[in-house]
Symmetry: C2
Subunit: 344 residues, 2 copies
């Protein structure tokens, strides 16, 4: 044998091109290749070109695991959402993915199920995965926990206002959204406006309701608590709400569902009862889900720009990761008038 002392490379490594091979081919040191890869130091143009050429020829792709282990960063950010298939947050996830990707970060999506304990487990899981930062989309975790987590790694949270180092919060003005919806109904001459709320204790819902009341008050109209029924943010809640409201026998000409899913349920219940929207009843939702444009009739609603929210959250994260202190203003609610509302 010509060379019995040649060390036998681990078989796993076969076919894998490493930074060392690039260095050898380019005739420079391993460190130089690394520096060029990371733009971490000024390197002479000639070497840079040689390295770039070698990288291209070998079709070299850095191993992120090695990179993470050595550099202490994983180039990934954890995203805790209610559920990976949430109808509302879907667009937000896409917004996050599409802004993280060009920045060289991967998103790790996990479902928190809007449950404090599961969310805690998600944080542990993600920290175990060594993500560089975490985005929490409207979770249930108390502020105190969040502040603690923010000490360990960059955090951006939506759906609340919270100040702390290493943490940026992106709130949404649900109050204003609620106000907008009711103002619209009032402008159409509706005086008796029923409301289906979200889950009890859900801040978004109580804020939207406050906005509703504020609009009423501004118009000099009384708020009648018998016209509000507790929902669940799901379609079924909308169905039940209509039944309940009708059973109460208190007249109303319009219904404000505090989210689109409940509006869809309400539309179905009304449809079954032979009530025509908007001739017999005006209906307003909240969120502007993708499918709401194609509801029959298309739903008038308050738009919460989910995609943009995700985009913003990701941008904040990227800046936090750079050591900057981003200050952003969250997107504003806007009223989208379609065909489910009509003047009395």
């Amino acid at each position: 044998m010509s060379n019995s002392t040649t060390p036998i490379k681990n078989t796993k490594t076969l076919g894998t091109v490493t930074i060392e091979m690039v260095a050898q081919r380019a005739g420079v040191s391993l460190s130089t290749v690394s520096r060029i890869l990371n733009g971490t130091a000024v390197v002479s143009e000639s070497k840079k070109q040689a390295v770039d050429k070698a990288i291209a020829e070998l079709d070299f792709v850095p191993n992120p695991m090695a990179r993470s282990l050595a550099g202490g960063r994983s180039q990934s950010v954890g995203v805790i959402t209610r559920a990976i298939d949430s109808p509302f947050y879907g667009a937000a996830l896409r917004g996050i993915e599409e802004t993280l990707d060009p920045a060289g970060y991967s998103a790790l999506f996990v479902s928190g199920h809007f449950d404090v304990n599961i969310e805690k487990r998600c944080f542990e899981l993600l920290r175990g995965r060594r993500v560089d930062g975490i985005i929490l989309l409207t979770g249930q975790l108390p502020d105190a926990n969040l502040k603690t987590y923010a000490k360990a790694l960059p955090l951006v949270v939506t759906g609340r206002t919270l100040k702390a180092k290493g943490l940026v919060s992106l709130d949404f003005d649900n109050f204003e959204g609620g106000r907008l919806a009711t103002e619209h109904l009032l402008s159409l001459g509706h005086q008796k406006i029923a409301v289906v709320t979200g889950e009890a204790g859900h801040k978004d819902s109580t804020e939207r309701l406050r906005g509703h009341c504020a609009a009423l008050e501004a118009a000099g109209l009384p708020f009648d608590p018998r016209l509000v029924v507790a929902g669940d943010y799901l379609e079924l809640g909308g169905v039940r709400a209509v039944e309940e409201l009708l059973a109460r026998k208190i007249p109303f000409t319009s219904l404000f569902a505090l989210n689109d899913q409940m509006a869809a349920g309400a539309a179905l219940a009304l449809h079954r009862l032979g009530k025509h929207i908007p001739s017999d009843m005006s209906l307003v939702g909240f969120d502007d889900l993708p499918q709401s444009v194609y509801a029959a009739p298309p739903l008038t609603t308050v738009r919460q720009p989910a995609y943009q929210l995700g985009e913003l959250a990701a941008q904040c994260m990227i800046r936090l990761l750079k050591g900057e202190t981003p200050s952003v203003k969250a997107p504003r609610p806007t009223l989208i008038v379609r065909e489910s509302t009509k003047a009395t």
Copy 2:
């Protein structure tokens, strides 16, 4: 100074508990801890207990990066989907997440946008991230490419039938689904059935249409091509199809939309024209999207169990990763009769 030669640990490492610290505390070697962690060898019970205790006391969590680098596995699997917020695949993603997680794998979701080039880029990205396997949900990539990829790492693909080593395919019987829908309409006495298809060249769509024709033929009824219009699998296609069909002035009493999104669009168009579903027109969809139960009226459709599909795909992947050769039968289509169809 008492000990000027103590090596200074990398600052990154502060606060991180390593396998070495566990070993020291438990009074065993590093290798033993690793073996216990991985169940990779039989270890005496006493040592195992000591190690477990140390792990608990130190709150040790293995570093997945180091693990991957040393072990050659990343404990993650890439999932290429049309879009992270696809209404149909949402449930499939959840199914994948929920079965991968207990098996110790993380899912890396990326959007392929049903585009050959983007899907290729996704494969590169995921391989760059060193995923252990890839699940492709109904992509556009040709079979040949898939077979090539399967040589490099385990692959499970849905929406086609393909045999190759290291690859398992999970097809769905779209033909049967199409047959079921039309058979239902026929059983209600409908003879004139219009059809809105999906994007041209989309295999799912052509299969569903074939099923439709087969049902017609079995009933001894002619297939009238003037009753089919080309759609796009989006709501807008459903809207346009209704307009187009009506413009053709060929009578029909029912409409089979080859997916639920188009059915929603068709329902809207019919609603605007004052046509009542199902009194004036019966409507059948395909997929059974979550929101279809709450359409007004609730949509009769062919159910494609997305969650279960994701679950199965993930199970196959886990078995492939174990070196097994899973053989599975894909879930069957089922007809879900709701309120959008009615006897003539």
